[in-house]
Structures are given as structure tokens and as C-alpha cells.
Amino acid sequence: MIDARLYLLQRLTAIAMLPLIITHLVVMIYAINGGLSAEEILGRTQGSIGWAIFYGSFVLFAAIHGAIGFRTILYEWFVPNITVCSVASIALLVILSSLGLRAVYAVTWL
């Protein structure tokens, strides 16, 4: 039952991320032109509620999606103990969401 729910959640986060990833790719290709600078990045993102919501939701979707995928790969290829794999994937979820939200706060908060 839990596996079916995780499967569904992974697909839902994948669909939710489609426009976010495409936008991120376009912004990166645009931003890398002429080199990257903190001023350029922060000038675009600081004080922007829109970018905070965009990147904040992106981080959470990616953390959930990545943790579920990591659990599956870990179980099928490396550790045939689902409890250990679940604990490791929760650890990855916590690491990705906390570091990610900290990064969003760092670049969007004035």
C-alpha cells in the first residue's frame, strides 16, 4: 500500500515539476550568458515573492521525488532491506528540503 502511494506521489511530483524544470533550464541558459555573478542572481531573486514560491515549491517537489527514487534504487540495487532504505530516503528528504529551503531563503530574502 505504501509503495503504491509512493509510486503515485513520485508521478505527481514529476508532473508538478515539468513547468518548473523547463523554466529553470531556460533561466540557466539565459543567466550563464556572460558569466555568473552573485549580483546578477540576487538582483533577479531577492525580494521576489514569485521566485520564492517558484523555488520553494521546486525544492519540496524535488526533495520528495528524489527521496522516493533513491529508496527504490537503494532497495533494488544495493540494500535489500526496505526499512533501512526507507530511513535513508527520509534522511535524504530532510537534507534536501532543509538545505534547499535555506538556499531559497538565502537568495530571495531581502
Partner: protein, 112 residues
């Protein structure tokens, strides 16, 4: 016994897993670097200066390639699992890889 591993869709499956794993392992580094903005723009600029090194730039292009592969490969999986469309999956997986290479090339062109 290993014959299936030469199948294009097995390669697509493997590529999707490896690209996803690599992206998940890269993200903490990405977040820590962006988090340097908390210490001010100069701290972030110091880290960004490394992105001008040729091997770092090559790694960035590699990451864009992996992201595009995971995105487009993921779209193929969603089409296969969630729709009634009976498109040629081998053609879709090859197109996904080709388009990913084009996206990474555009990024490289923009970065240089």
C-alpha cells in the same frame, strides 16, 4: 541472459536511474553554494568564480545534460504510463536523448 541489456529501452531505464541519482547527489552541493548568499554577495561570488574553471564548466554542461535526460526521459515514462498513446517508445527514448544533447549544447554555447 543479459541480452535485454542491449535493448534501447533498458538503456533508457538505466540512464533515467543514473541521471536521477546523480542529480539527487548534486543538489546538496548546489544548495550549499546558493546558501552562501546568507554571508553576502562576495561569499557567493567566491564560489561562483570556480564555475569559470574549464573542468567545472564541463561538469555544469554534464549536469544540464543529465537534467534534460531525466526531464525528457521522465516525460516518456509519463506518456507510457498515464496515457493511451501508443507511440514508438524506442523512437521517443532516442528523441529524448537527442533533444537533451541539443539542450546541453545550447547551454555550452551560451556559457562560452
Amino acid at each position: 541472459m543479459m541480452k535485454h541489456r542491449s535493448h534501447p529501452l533498458w538503456k533508457a531505464f538505466l540512464l533515467h536511474r543514473i541521471s536521477g541519482l546523480a542529480l539527487a547527489l548534486f543538489l546538496p552541493i548546489h544548495f550549499v553554494i546558493l546558501g552562501l548568499a546568507l554571508e553576502g554577495a562576495s561569499a557567493l561570488n567566491t564560489a561562483l568564480a570556480f564555475s569559470e574553471l574549464p573542468f567545472v564548466k564541463a561538469a555544469e554542461v554534464g549536469l544540464i545534460l543529465l537534467l534534460a535526460i531525466h526531464l525528457l526521459g521522465g516525460i516518456r515514462i509519463l506518456i507510457l504510463e498515464l496515457t493511451q498513446l501508443s507511440w514508438d517508445q524506442k523512437m521517443l527514448s532516442r528523441s529524448a536523448f537527442g533533444l537533451s544533447a541539443i539542450i546541453a549544447t545550447i547551454f555550452l554555447w551560451s556559457a562560452s
